[in-house]
Amino acid sequence: MSKKTRIPPMLKRAVSHIFTKPVTTKYPFVKPTLPADFRGQQVFDINLCVSCGLCSRDCPAKAIEMVVIDGKRRPQFKLDSCIFCYQCAESCPRNAIKSSVFYELATTDKSSLVLKPQASVERRASPQ
């Protein structure tokens, strides 16, 4: 290590950055591309569900409640306590719970964070 005092490197770097493009992303005007297996909001497929309740049993945050719909027990996701660990997807024997890259879940209405299973049926059915 030379004892000579050099020019502090920050002086140069600071100037050069004025003339380079900032690294800032353009969100919310340009959405980022996420890896395909990003752990976003779960997508539940009621047609594959066998009402076993394993997802609810293994959920560490107790965010999945089994509710009775049409005489069958179905999982109801409470996104406000979900920790997105995807243990439910792993526990599900039929792969009825899948991942999605949707992460913009913010809301001013807490009740909208409860994903009712019947609702997902309707919504899944309607666009098709």
Partner: protein, 329 residues
Amino acid sequence: MIDFWLIFRILVFPGFTFVLLLTLFCDWMERKIEARIQNRVGPMVAGPFGILQPLADFIKLLTKEDIQPRDAKKFIFKFAPLVAFSVMVFAMCFLPVDGASVLSVSGFNGDLIVILAFVTIANFLLFLSGWASSNPYGAIGSARVLTQFLGYDIPLFLVGLTPAFIAGSLSIAAIASAQTIPYIVLAPWAFVLFIISMQAELEKDPFDIPHAESEVVGGLETEYTGGKLAFLHLTRDVQIVFGAALVVELFLGGSSGPVFFGLPAFWYSLWFVLKLLAVVVITEYITCVFARLRLDQVLSANWKILLPSAVLSLILTVAMVTWVYPLVV
């Protein structure tokens, strides 16, 4: 008889409105430059390129709820920020922007001393405002303001006298107009010292000890809300503009510059503003590339380095004025 021209000059240009707009613009530019140095974008959505950001901040603060802490010294707490602001704006009025000062009578021999005194008064009012809020962080922050400006006022004053010596006048207008060669060329050492002590006086990095968030939270502003906070912020910004303007007047030849066509006043103000922005860029650059020093380091730097070199600079200047400059100019 009401002199409309005088009122215009006081209220609009180059008086209050101009100073206010220039301040907001400088604030925006500072934030933008800081952001760019840090490889960020900076304010972007308020107005084109975020240019209205300081204005939005200001309006928002004015409309916020005004809370007065129970233990605050009410009168001082209320008025110190406002008075500090008006003192700074008043000081700005002595600076010749478009070739002449706001009031033709305000330029007199010795006004340099007067406006340096105004800076001190404004700083003292800021100290009072922090002290009046009866908050431990506010108290520490304002105590630091006091310690720091007591230390750096002397070198600032000494170095500020250098151009006065060269010009042979204590009038800012005279100093500015005497600079056929800008004093930054004639006395670069004084310019450097002046920028450093200005940086300390304005409490910017590496001397922003009164604002060290990690130690004193919001410093003297901690307890302030709403409109009073808006004026505290504005006072600081005017101080920065004022500092830059003073540098322009003392070292960069004031508002002098080539006049191409039309009104000379327009060109003078343009040169003035451009020079001022250049100084703001320099100070902001210094702010960005250094870490904050410790209070004891700042004080020892002042007494051991800055003060002696200010004295040396003055001696050197006197010597130069006596023997060298007559050969050059």
